[in-house]
Symmetry: C2
Subunit: 115 residues, 2 copies
Amino acid sequence: MSRLEAATGAAPPDPAAVFAALGDPTRLALLDRLSDGRPRSISALASGGDITRQAVTKHLRVLEGAGLVASLREGRESRFAYRPEQVRQARAWLDTVSARWDDALGRLKAFVEGV
Amino acid sequence: MSRLEAATGAAPPDPAAVFAALGDPTRLALLDRLSDGRPRSISALASGGDITRQAVTKHLRVLEGAGLVASLREGRESRFAYRPEQVRQARAWLDTVSARWDDALGRLKAFVEGV
DNA sequence: GAAACGTGCAAGTATCCGGTTGCATGTCTG
DNA sequence: CAGACATGCAACCGGATACTTGCACGTTTC
């Protein structure tokens, strides 16, 4: 049922899965191309690069599984569109970690300065 | 010489590598624990979880390779500390993508509304 | 110095990942 | 209908990954 979840937008907020999906140069490039908001078909996305259409398909499925992308079948082709929600989620996680670090640093500074 | 790079802070700004390092629940948990700024030894980090000390060591080496963490040998133990630079880098990348998406969405909206 | 502690190194294993190729299926278009 | 086009499915392969176990080596500590 994970495909349905990804398609319906009920992807679980799993930071590790999102980061894992982002942790590949090819997928990052695909996302970058899709981040202009225009949905594209698989072969359209595969034509530019040097890898097979099948490889692109697999990468798109991974991105879809992480909720970073949504697919919509239109006739004989299926178009993939970028979805910003999970990116926001990932940013939120990074913000949390950064914030905690900054807090710790601030506390350390305060301690050193004798506050 | 990658160990030296990671130790001296000259890690290359490769978003995919950083995301790949973040794309594992165990590593994410380690980073989360280290993000309070307090360096910890390997066995201290391994004691809490249910995996071997060796597994923790490998994960820490991965994080170190991505520049997310720095190691410092102190006597018989080596302490690992969180490094915020790469996290900032990753956030900046996500910000870029998000911004582009928002721009594209804004332009699309404007176009649809006949502006 | 001996025991305990923290770590590193090496080998081994099962699984996942990125990528390919070959073939079958559905869908437009002439 | 026939051919071109877009995709899906399945098998396969080489390399990376996540772990483990076993052992050796430096470092405290008593």
